[in-house]
């Protein structure tokens, strides 16, 4: 469906058979295509702009080695800068704190928080042998707590018993106590979805953080997100200080530019990728894979 950037750039450069250093004029021509490709991949406009500036600075005057065409050379520079911006390597969930280690999931409605919480719990239990408790603090979405309970049973991880009528903060306190008193290694706090401009709910999230004292705060976001990715990532980060990002629905056919936007605007690592509805569809983040996808290669 999408034409790869490398094909576009090589067709631009086809007319230029010159070798040697890339001229400013050539680079600017190529960067117009780069800008367009990034915008079509849903990278946020301001992020595209600073990205393109970085590539320009590196490309002008760069020596084109014999074995590659100027188009391939620009693609290589773009790819290098992309990978640098996305973060160099897989950054795992950090459990380096006194037990029970609290992990809090936050994000917009429907992003995949509850599903991802259960996937992470399964992974911590099976691959790292941790004793995990999950608690749903979502008292808003119909059957949200029930959803986490069902997933807990599916993956063989305990969930905090549901007590009707408690506030999210009360549940958080109860979960923290249960985690401590019952010898859990990790407590996962699933929270209700919230739009980042809903002041009451953003305040509630801050209070949940105070009550649960999380070691990791993971922003769960849809990899299909458009231009709004920068705003949502920045607002969540400003309010609670996220420690990492989980991108869901990478099993889709989206170009995933939101990854670049959110990483660039928060500086926080992308830790995990959700790649399906099933409980084992959780993958480590590898920047080169996302970079290729953004570039349509």
């Amino acid at each position: 469906m999408f034409e790869g950037l490398s094909e576009k750039l090589s067709s631009i450069f086809d007319s230029l058979t010159r070798r040697g250093a890339l001229s400013e004029e050539d680079v600017n021509l190529a960067l117009r295509e780069v800008r367009r490709a990034l915008l079509e991949a849903d990278v946020a406009l301001d992020v595209v702009r600073s990205f393109v500036d970085k590539v320009r600075a590196r490309a002008i005057g760069a020596n084109v080695v014999k074995s590659v065409t100027p188009g391939q050379m620009v693609v290589k520079i773009v790819n290098d800068v992309l990978i640098e911006t996305l973060g160099s390597d897989a950054d795992p969930i950090n459990l380096d704190a006194a037990a029970p280690v609290a992990i809090m999931m936050v994000g917009l409605q429907g992003a995949g928080k509850t599903t991802t919480a259960a996937k992470i719990a399964k992974r911590l239990k099976e691959q790292m042998g941790r004793k995990v408790l999950m608690a749903s603090l979502d008292v808003k979405r119909p059957a949200a707590q029930e959803q986490l309970a069902v997933l807990g049973r599916q993956v063989g991880v305990d969930t905090l018993p549901i007590v009707a009528g408690q506030t999210p903060v009360q549940i958080a306190v109860r979960a923290e106590q249960a985690g401590r008193l019952q010898g859990y290694d990790v407590v996962l706090f699933d929270t209700a979805g919230r739009t980042h401009i809903d002041e009451a709910l953003m305040q509630e999230m801050v209070e949940i953080k105070a009550a649960s004292r999380p070691h990791e705060i993971l922003l769960v976001a849809d990899s299909l997100t458009g231009q709004d990715a920068v705003h949502l990532a920045k607002n969540f980060d400003d309010r609670v200080g996220i420690t990492g990002i989980v991108l869901t629905r990478v099993d889709g056919d989206g170009r995933g530019g939101a990854a670049l936007s959110m990483r660039a605007v928060t500086g926080k690592p992308i830790k995990l990728l959700g790649s399906g509805e099933k409980m084992d569809a959780l993958e480590d983040f590898h920047p080169s894979r996302i970079a290729n996808r953004i570039l349509g290669m």
Binding site: G110, R141, P142, A143, T225, G226, D228, G252, G254, G257
Partner: protein
């Protein structure tokens, strides 16, 4: 009021306003071009430009702002709700059921998401809230079998409208799309004209992928209209502008929150003004 020349720089700025609202590069360039037509090099008030921009966007959308019409002669009128994971299908069904019930119609809901944990329970709770009957199978059971039972149950109970929920699925997952195709096929066996409406629920925060969603869901399930949710956030949902002309589908409703009342008819003018960065009230920003 400050005046400026409508030049290339200004058109670039307008294009950027549209790109930020998720219209995509091609549509943004096209619409910015329409604003420039006949006005290029002329002096123009800065506030006026945004109004013109909004008018151009509105012009594209207006023909598609059409309500979902329920033909009272068709009973039960069958509505199938489809879309990717988490877009807001189940919640939108709750909102629609609330609206139809208020209009005095008898609604039956079918819990066709037999996959996701507690999806059936979620729809049941909406049913309880609204006093609507809900027909459901077991988790993991075949959704097309439920489609069959639901149309029969709707007939037998004299329901005016049957709304069927489906599991969220990404449009590139062929096996899941085949399941959806089967639901439609089975419905037609019981009632050849069913489903009478197929609503695709799109999340406003989603960017360019909404094009592929609309294309493939239309092909597989015969989408008849769109609903865009989560417009209460900061996402503008501008991809609708690209979708409108490409697919010529009516846009029925927008979702603006999580409660039963948070469903509004799609209003091209309000939507366009929000995209152009104008407030719903007429006060220009900055």
């Amino acid at each position: 009021f400050t005046k400026r020349k409508l030049d290339a720089a200004m058109l670039d700025e307008l294009e950027e306003v549209l790109i930020r609202a998720d219209l995509g590069v091609a549509t943004a360039t096209h619409i910015a071009g329409l604003v420039g037509k006949g006005r290029y090099d002329k002096s123009i008030e800065v506030d006026e430009v945004k109004t013109i921009l909004a008018e151009e966007v509105e012009r594209v959308l207006a023909p598609y702002a059409r309500p979902l019409e329920i033909d009272p002669a068709i009973k039960p009128f069958v509505i199938l709700v489809v879309g990717v994971n988490g877009s807001g299908k189940t919640t939108t069904i709750g909102k629609l059921a609330a609206q139809f019930s208020q209009e005095g119609r008898k609604v039956l809901l079918a819990a066709g998401d037999t996959f996701r944990a507690a999806a059936i329970e979620q729809l049941r709770l909406w049913g309880d809230r609204l006093n609507c009957a809900v027909i459901a199978g077991n988790q993991g059971s075949d959704a097309s079998a439920l489609a069959f039972d639901a149309i029969r149950a709707a007939r037998e109970s004299g329901a005016d409208i049957l709304i069927m929920d489906t599991a969220g699925r990404l449009q590139n997952r062929a096996e899941l799309m085949a399941e959806l195709e089967k639901i439609v096929r089975v419905m037609k066996k019981v009632e050849p004209a069913a489903p009478h409406a197929v609503l695709l629920v799109l999340d406003a925060t989603v960017g360019q992928n909404a094009v592929s969603q609309t294309e493939i869901f239309s092909k597989v399930a015969g989408v008849t209209g769109l609903v865009m949710t989560k417009l209460d956030g900061t996402a503008r949902g501008g991809i609708l502008v690209a979708l409108a002309e490409k697919f010529q589908l009516p846009i029925h409703y927008v979702g603006v929150g999580e409660t039963a009342a948070d469903l509004a008819p799609f209003a091209a003018r309000d939507f366009a003004r929000a995209i152009a960065g104008l407030d719903e009230t007429d006060a220009p920003r900055h």
